[in-house]
């Protein structure tokens, strides 16, 4: 009987943890867990357990605003996540604020919620500069790399079907791995978010060897991910980000990470603010990717 009660209590505890609102959890524990990426365009590590990037800067400012709102101190814990485990870790409460580079789409909105879009990504093709490839149609019979657990895999499949271009796909386990496939010649092209391509090229041994070419394969709103059905926390995060959009602080952060030399190699990504991102800042929203495709 005792065992039954214990199990019941455990189950109750688990479901209670899910229902608990994040603001209260942060206030009570004095910590917030930020989901960060090892090698992604908006969030990456520079070693020694330090994580930096456009989205990390935004998240740290959001946490600063949360400190003001909740009073008291909030420590930030950095939890590395991958494209494959970020959603389960957010849902199960391990991560409170996922600051990687996650596409907001309808399928994911069933499990998680997104703050207002902070960056609009364009999926592009990276190739070796001397390959002569300049469009997706030239990839017929070629090998194309992309990363497991990303939306680009599906984008690629859709394009393949729509255009009748037939290519062999290889899947890197993360972006650095996919880029290595391109670098080592195992793949002729790497299809991924433009910022991730630009970042991997900028930090490669010879950035001049690579270039980003071709049409925009898909437009994806990238946002900070949070747990679903937690209106209080979403409002707090959204308001903080909206204030940054209005004050021009977000534009400064963008400039810092995309136009200026960044660690660890002090190279420039050089990706000017796109019209789509500018539009998302002017009209803050958390519309999923599917709404962008309709336009």
């Amino acid at each position: 009987m005792k065992k039954v009660l214990l199990v019941a209590a455990l189950l109750a505890g688990i479901s209670a943890a899910h229902a608990e609102d994040t603001l209260k959890k942060i206030k009570d524990s004095g910590t917030i867990t930020m989901g960060v990426r090892e090698s992604s365009g908006l969030s990456y590590t520079i070693g020694d357990g330090k994580y930096v990037g456009y989205h990390i800067d935004i998240c740290e400012r959001v946490v600063a605003d949360l400190r003001k709102q909740l009073g008291g101190k909030i420590d930030i814990k950095y939890q590395p996540v991958t494209s494959a485990n970020r959603i389960p870790l957010t849902v199960n409460g391990t991560v409170d604020l996922e600051c990687g580079s996650t596409t907001n789409n309808v399928a994911r909105q069933k499990d998680v919620a997104f703050a207002v879009t902070t960056y609009v990504e364009e999926v592009r093709i990276a190739v070796k500069a001397n390959s002569g490839i300049s469009s997706i149609n030239q990839l017929n019979g070629k090998t194309v790399a992309t990363t497991t657990g990303t939306t680009s895999v599906q984008t690629l499949r859709k394009h393949e079907r729509a255009t009748g271009v037939d290519f062999k796909e290889v899947f890197g386990k993360d972006h650095a791995d996919s880029f290595l496939l391109l670098d080592s010649g195992r793949a002729d092209a790497f299809v991924m978010d433009g910022s991730i391509l630009a970042k991997n090229i900028a930090t490669s041994k010879n950035p001049a060897d690579f270039k980003i070419v071709g049409e925009v394969l898909s437009v994806e709103p990238i946002a900070i991910m949070i747990r679903k059905d937690d209106a209080g926390f979403k409002t707090a995060v959204d308001n903080s980000i909206k204030a940054m959009m209005k004050s021009g602080e977000l534009a400064k952060i963008y400039d810092k990470w995309f136009m200026q030399p960044i660690p660890p190699t002090h190279t420039k990504i050089g990706l000017p603010l796109s019209a789509a991102t500018k539009d998302a800042w002017a009209n803050p929203n958390d519309k999923p990717m599917e709404d962008y495709a309709k336009k």
């Binding site: 494209s83 494959a84 790399a145 497991t148 990303t150 599906q154 393949e160 037939d166 899947f171 890197g172």
Partner: protein, 246 residues
């Protein structure tokens, strides 16, 4: 929570339901077909790696018990090399590092490289077990064989190995089951096997439970099938009165 298994019949590109749950094949496939293909890759990598591991592992195990000093040292070196490097690192070495030194490897499909990596890794472990099996036998058996006028290879073939292999069937069984489970590392070098399917498909559909439960079962079924085959072999080759016999 609510279950939704409908998506298994959806096309992987358009996301639309396909009548009969099976598309025309090739790249026009449903999630169900994708999962079965992925299972096929898991079995393909596992079975080939297992065959390689059994052959190489037996040779290494024999070499380690051979009276020839150099042969024994080679076996020793082989075992220590392949069992002291993590499997995932070995897979990357085969895929990314060795091709830089041996350009021919660049043209070798990644599935072959994974089979080599997984096979050699397991061969070190199997070699260790075969060696242990041979060492278990009283040294008198080896001398008896030689005293009967058999050559050393004949002593191995007709006296030592038939006994040693029967003794090591149980540890070899778990090694063979391990290879099925270890084959999941193949996803790291772009083999579209079950672990890769699980990661990618759950990302696309957001049906994590509905994807990981069948994938778990498929791994279990595959490993358990290996177990049953090995038990069958064990029962068939058993010699009454000998160790392991009844």
């Amino acid at each position: 929570m609510s279950w939704d298994w409908q998506f298994y019949c959806n096309d992987t590109a358009t996301g639309e339901a396909v009548a009969g749950c099976f598309g025309p094949g090739g790249k026009e496939q449903t999630y169900l077909q994708w999962m079965l293909n992925a299972w096929g890759w898991t079995l393909y990598v596992s079975v080939l790696a297992l065959l390689l591991a059994l052959v190489v592992g037996s040779l290494v195990g024999i070499a380690r018990t051979a009276p020839n000093k150099w042969l024994a040292r080679f076996g020793e070196a082989w075992t220590e090399l392949f069992r002291n490097i993590p499997l995932l690192v070995q897979v990357f070495l085969w895929y990314h590092v060795l091709p830089a030194f041996i350009p021919v490897l660049k043209t070798v499909p990644s599935s072959v490289l994974v089979v080599l990596a997984l096979g050699f890794f397991t061969s070190a472990r199997i070699g260790e077990q075969v060696k242990a099996g041979i060492r278990t036998l009283p040294t008198g058996q080896r001398y008896a064989g030689l005293a009967m006028g058999m050559t050393l290879p004949q002593t191995y073939r007709f006296v030592l190995l038939p006994m040693a292999f029967r003794i090591v069937i149980p540890p070899l069984t778990s090694e063979s089951m391990n290879i099925v489970k270890n084959s999941a590392v193949a996803f790291a070098v772009s083999i579209p096997e079950l672990a890769q399917f699980a990661q990618q498909a759950s990302e696309e559909t957001s049906h994590f439970e509905e994807i990981f439960i069948p994938v778990t079962l498929l791994y279990f079924v595959s490993a358990f099938a290996v177990n049953r085959v090995a038990k069958f072999v064990e029962a068939r080759v058993r010699i009454p009165g000998q160790s392991g016999g009844k």
